[in-house]
Symmetry: C2
Subunit: 399 residues, 2 copies
């Protein structure tokens, strides 16, 4: 569906009061970039905050100055599941990110040089606190809902724990109550690839006029493997060779190769050049990502993921952790083929919420796309969100 919001202009807000962080450090002075869609009603009761995941920012919906649609444009807009004719929707970029808000590429006032790897380590809870200040400045005492997918889902959950009086509904999609050892392992390999790239320069590569592209590429390739389901990758690429393109074979020959009917003679027998289409896809994704994503941001965001673990302060007891959520209303959504944040992880959250007598709806969507499904336009998934937002809108409009 084409964007129906049209051009959207990002806004920014400066915060002069220090933001205390979980690490004990503080962000003395910072700027948040945000976008809004729709109109805040007179009662200021129809605001929905959208939290972003790793590779996204405040540009949730509509078209930016380059004509690029927002990352959740299929979900947010007039007539869409999160309907901007009824809701006032806020997208905000988190501090430490590389999409406009204060981050490691900006000047550290203490040193006069770019923060680089010295940017304070931020957590999901720190982000939520920063978002809460923005919401307050926008004159919104209580959000109708907060929504996010993946890392954004963790932020949505954290809202109900840190600012329970300031949010009515929480919608957490394709998320988890904490990363598993395997999740942390993938993050760590990606970080090592970046940090050991000689162009990283201890995080101060900005001053050297270089970017640790090799590390970013590898990090993104690893990420992409975990975003797709094994089956989706098999269906999309299988063992199809890239040689149709490479040797300029006829369309018929390419189609045959695509059908797996090729022979060993189709290979170039090379360890460094591309033989299979999946390799071409991953390299392309890695190259694209390394052109625009900040290496220090990658480290910060993956660490925020690693740290998130509300049960930690409660001896591992997730029910105890979710005690502040009592009385809140939740929608949890997971996808059957998501092996990064599997449905079982969402069910852990559902159980902890139900044990706290929260009102919980849970949808486990049978979708083939793996973790990526939370960004895609699946009819059942969007149907669930549409119905849930319809209910919230009715509540808001009834008051």
């Amino acid at each position: 569906m084409a964007s129906t919001l049209g051009l959207v202009t990002p806004q920014q807000m400066h915060f002069g009061e220090a933001l205390p962080l979980a690490s004990g450090a503080a962000l003395a002075d910072y700027r948040l970039v945000y976008e809004t869609y729709g109109t805040l009603n007179e009662a200021r009761s129809n605001a929905v905050l959208v939290c972003h995941a790793l590779n996204a920012g405040a540009h949730v919906a509509g078209l930016d100055a380059n004509g690029q649609p927002g990352w959740w444009d299929n979900l947010v807009g007039p007539g869409k599941p999160l309907d901007t004719r009824r809701f006032f929707v806020i997208g905000v970029n988190n501090p430490g990110s590389c999409f406009g808000s204060t981050g490691p590429m900006h000047k550290n006032p203490a040193s006069g040089r770019a923060w680089g790897a010295d940017f304070p380590v931020v957590t999901v809870e720190d982000w939520v606190d920063a978002q809460a200040r923005l919401v307050e400045r926008l004159g919104i005492a209580r959000l109708a809902a907060v929504i996010g997918g993946s890392l954004g889902g963790m932020q949505a959950l954290a809202w109900t724990l840190r600012h329970p009086a300031r949010v009515a509904h929480c919608i957490a999609v394709a998320t988890a109550p904490s990363l598993s050892a395997q999740n942390i392992a993938f993050n760590e390999v990606a970080r090592r690839a970046i940090v050991t790239d000689p162009d990283f320069h201890g995080g101060h590569f900005y001053e050297h006029g270089v970017v640790p592209r090799r590390g970013l590429r590898v990090a993104r390739m690893i990420g992409h493997i975990t975003y797709l389901s094994d089956d989706a990758m098999e269906a999309k690429f299988g063992r199809r060779t890239a040689n149709g393109q490479r040797h300029g074979a006829s369309a018929a020959a390419s189609a045959e190769a695509g059908a797996g009917a090729a022979t060993m003679a189709d290979f170039a027998y090379t360890t460094q050049d591309i033989e299979f289409q999946i390799e071409s896809y991953l390299r392309h994704q890695g190259d694209k990502f390394s052109e625009y994503f900040d290496a220090n941001t990658y480290l910060l965001i993956t660490r925020a993921l690693d740290y998130f673990d509300p049960a930690r302060e409660h001896g591992g007891d997730l029910k105890a952790a979710f005690a502040p959520a009592r009385g809140k209303r939740f929608l949890l959504v997971s996808f059957t083929t998501d092996w990064r944040f599997a449905p079982a992880r969402s069910r852990e959250i559902v159980k902890a919420l139900v044990d706290n007598d929260a009102a919980v709806s849970y949808a486990e969507i049978d979708a083939p796309h793996g973790h990526d499904a939370f960004l895609l336009d699946d009819a059942r998934y969007h149907g669930v969100l549409r119905a849930y937002f319809h209910r919230i809108a009715a509540e808001v409009e009834r008051v």
Copy 2:
């Protein structure tokens, strides 16, 4: 179980006749390192060939000069499942590897410098042909069995297709009829990490006195994630922090942290240093591997894995590919938690064999360790192998 074979001395054999390769190139002149255990009987009918996987060589069992046990020492030896009192067991290192046989670190006679990235690309079938020559030179017309796990299992299968008259039994453990797109993807990321390491020097790093350690470390870390099951990693490491060691906390505090009862205050809030034990484990594995494994070998061996696909020449028809296996006898073993080479992949092979009226035994072992299980000493797994080899020994000794 301690090794009962004692000191084993590797042997080597030189081959002056060129080995034609699948790529169309040839290996003009090469050396194979091998080891043998047990005694070849008079009829020369009790020989079992063991094929190695990525990170292994000819040293299958017993102790080497450094006192290191072989990589399958728990399986091979007097009284062990593959009993060297009854069988003459051969371990051989494949060309292109870095454990003694001719490989990319040796001199290319054509250039006078180390082969480096110019070493010919080798396939599973090329290795099997090289092994067949060794077996012939040892005076063995027909192997009682060929056995291998993972990539070694592919070699065992390829023996029955390329040299069906020269092998009676095939035992293929934790293997697949071809890599999936996801398998290839993991290999490709690892290769990119190595190739883009500035110390790789296009594969000619030997001349520069350096090793692409950064790339090898990342490659090995990725590998380790795929060798372990998600559950095994969770059980072994979970979200346990490394700070017990780091801050020299008391044993009691460490145990408490280990139990997940730690708080956020246990973290150092760092993106580059270790926070979780899983990170420490992966870094250690990466460091160790980068000390001894050859980068060009890593590229060659992962490519051999990528290429293996006996169905390819038969329009994707695995049954047609296994037609030469008619009359052979097979044992296939898979492990329930192996997500690298899942049981479903072994079942594909079983079906193709059964469709060819081969005699197939298949054991799906409920083991928690993921792909690594094929190297471990699981009672049910070893019980299956012991029984199967007992049957082969009885056949051999009856004749």
